[in-house]
Symmetry: C2
Subunit: 144 residues, 2 copies
DNA sequence: TTGATGTTGAGAATCGTTATCAAAAGATAC
DNA sequence: GTATCTTTTGATAACGATTCTCAACATCAA
């Protein structure tokens, strides 16, 4: 799911900030924006190492920060204290259903809930910024 | 807000588990179940130290775990990675509005949202267990 | 008193993440 | 090409919240 557009967007961001594109950054971009989602830094590290042995954790974290700053990637602070990273799909917000047995992440959006959340903000005099909603349960596969 | 009932409930839990009541555990119970809510372990530590100098972090964390197990206290894993502890008010669930400027916590419940969350679980084949919803914004005082 | 068991607090360990810094890589000027 | 400047890299140390370890201590029943 790594499009030429994403690659270009990252390039543009780097240029704009006076930074450079590199082999390592390319590898990390590919892993993070590829199909598998909600990867931890460690999972990304292991994946990148297959193709670029010798990569360091520092480079992983630095690049992840750049990707987030460029708006291509979102960091999820999960309950287990480990951050996961996922492709930021064109500013379309979503929340998560998480299986407590197998760790599966399912992305969900409920426009009604979003509206009610805004109402909660307003009713309490808050200026809305963002929110996080995680629904923990047991998925179909794990129920069996 | 520390009721005799809570104290008794903790005593009962300890007895049932073959554990003992102690001065330190009493101090922590009082701090956590008192008015001020959503305290970090460090805040609890500093509060307890006023009345019981020499208390150790290990005792704070151990007692907090006991309080959670006894169902008297709930641990909130916050976005900043620091856990906060609050009085578990008779199994009445609530979510949080959090001010990103001053850190104020406002407790909210929206029965409609709760229903829609259940629907999300069901629609995706999940067995519901629990959820977490945090709304981040800027509170009335901080907006001015 | 003695033994058994539970509690405590100092300090070490854990672990995800961040900071440090010298070496390497790239770009630019000459 | 070489010199110079800037950025990137990865090994390693540091960080900070939490947990573990363990010897000293408290409690209580026999
Ligand atoms: Zn599952
Ligand atoms: Zn997602
Ligand atoms: Zn505020
Ligand atoms: Zn609360």
């Amino acid at each position: 799911m790594l499009t030429e557009k994403d690659k270009q967007a990252f390039q543009d961001y780097l240029t704009q900030e006076g930074l450079k594109f590199s082999e390592q950054r390319m590898q990390i971009l590919e892993i993070v924006l590829q199909g598998v989602k909600h990867l931890t830094a460690n999972e990304i590290y292991k994946n990148v190492q297959k193709r670029h042995p010798g990569i360091g954790y520092a480079t992983i974290y630095r690049t992840l920060r750049l990707l987030c700053e460029a708006g291509l990637c979102v960091e999820l602070k999960c309950e287990d204290g480990i951050c996961r990273y996922e492709h930021a799909a064109d500013d379309v917000h979503h929340d998560h259903l998480i299986c407590t047995k197998c760790g599966r992440f399912v992305e969900v959006v409920d426009p009604q809930i979003e509206k009610l959340q805004d109402k909660l903000f307003k009713d309490n005099g808050f200026l809305p910024q963002r929110h996080r909603m995680e629904l923990y349960g047991i998925c179909r596969q794990c129920k069996k």
